[in-house]
Amino acid sequence: MEGPVPFPQRGEEIVWIYEKKLQYPVKVSTCNPTLAKYLVEQYGGADGELAAALRYLNQRYTIPDKVIGLLTDIGTEEFAHLEMIATMIYKLTKDAKPQALKEAGLGEHYVQHDSALFYNNAAGVPFSATYFQAKGDPIADLYEDIAAEEKARATYQWIIDMSDDTDLNDSLRYLREREIVHSQRFREAVEILKDERDRQKIF
C-alpha cells in the first residue's frame, strides 16, 4: 500500500488535470440566444479564451525560465474561463427553439451545428491559429500577451454593455477583472526580464 500522495510541489504538475467545477459560479437569468451569439466572441474569437490559452501555453517552451510558471498558470486559468464561457452559451441557448435561434441571428449556426457549441467568433468566422503569435522574442511575446489581456478586457466590457442579464453580468465582471490581473502580472514579468537583461550587461 502506498501512503497518502504528498501535496504536489510547485513545478511538479506536469499534466493537466480536469477539475469538475467552474472557477466562478455562472448563473443565467433567462434563455437569451442573442447574448450567446455575442458571447461566442470570447469562445472562438481572436481575443477570446481559447486563443489566450493556446497563445500562453505555446510560448512557454522558448521563454526564460523565470516566467514559464506564470505563462503556465495563466494559460491554464484561461481554460477555466473557456469552460465558464461555454457554460454561459450552453445555458443561454439550451431551451431556445429553432425560430428563436433564427431571430437571434443564429439560424446559420443551427443549420450547421444544431445547438452544439463551435469555436467561431460572434460573426460566425471559425477559430484560427492566426489570431496569435509566437515570436520567440520574450519581450515581444509578453507585450502581445499584455495587449491580448487588454483586448479581452475591452471585449468583456462591450458584452456587458450589450447585456441586461444581471446574473450573467456578475460572472462577466469577474472575468473582466481577471483580464486586468493577468495584464498586470504580465507587465511584472516584462520588468523581471528587463532586470535580468540589464544585470547581464554589468561585469
Binding site: 500522495v5 501535496f7 510547485r10 488535470i17 480536469y18 477539475e19 469538475k20 467545477k21 467552474l22 472557477q23 466562478y24 459560479p25 455562472v26 516566467v67 510558471g69 506564470l70 498558470d73 495563466i74 486559468e77 469552460e83 461555454a86 457554460t87 450552453y90 445555458k91 490581473v181 493577468h182 502580472r185 511584472e188 514579468a189 523581471i192
Partner: protein, 86 residues
C-alpha cells in the same frame, strides 16, 4: 438537471470556489514575487484547507478530479452533475 441539487452542494461548492480563488491569486502573485514568505505561508495554509473541504464535498457529491477516492464501492463514475448542468 438544473437546480436539482441539495443546498449543501451549492454551499460547499461555493466555498471551494472561494478558497481556490485565493490560491489562484496567490499563485499568480508568487509567480512574479517568488520570495514573499508571507504569501508562501498563506498559499500553504489555503492549499491544505482546500484539500480538506474538497474531500468532504467528494464524499457527498462525487469526485472533483481524477485521483480522488471513489466513495461508491460498486460503481465508478463522474457521479453528480457537470458544471454546466447546475
Amino acid at each position: 438537471m438544473a437546480n436539482t441539487m441539495p443546498i449543501e452542494y451549492y454551499q460547499q461548492l461555493e466555498e471551494i470556489q472561494a478558497i481556490d480563488f485565493v490560491i489562484d491569486e496567490l499563485v499568480l502573485y508568487l509567480d512574479t514575487h517568488p520570495t514573499d514568505q508571507n504569501a508562501i505561508q498563506q498559499y500553504n495554509h489555503f492549499a491544505l484547507y482546500s484539500k480538506q473541504i474538497k474531500q468532504k464535498f467528494e464524499e457527498s457529491f462525487g469526485p472533483l478530479q481524477k485521483g480522488s477516492v471513489n466513495h461508491q464501492q460498486d460503481y465508478w463514475a463522474w457521479s453528480g452533475p457537470w458544471p454546466w448542468q447546475v
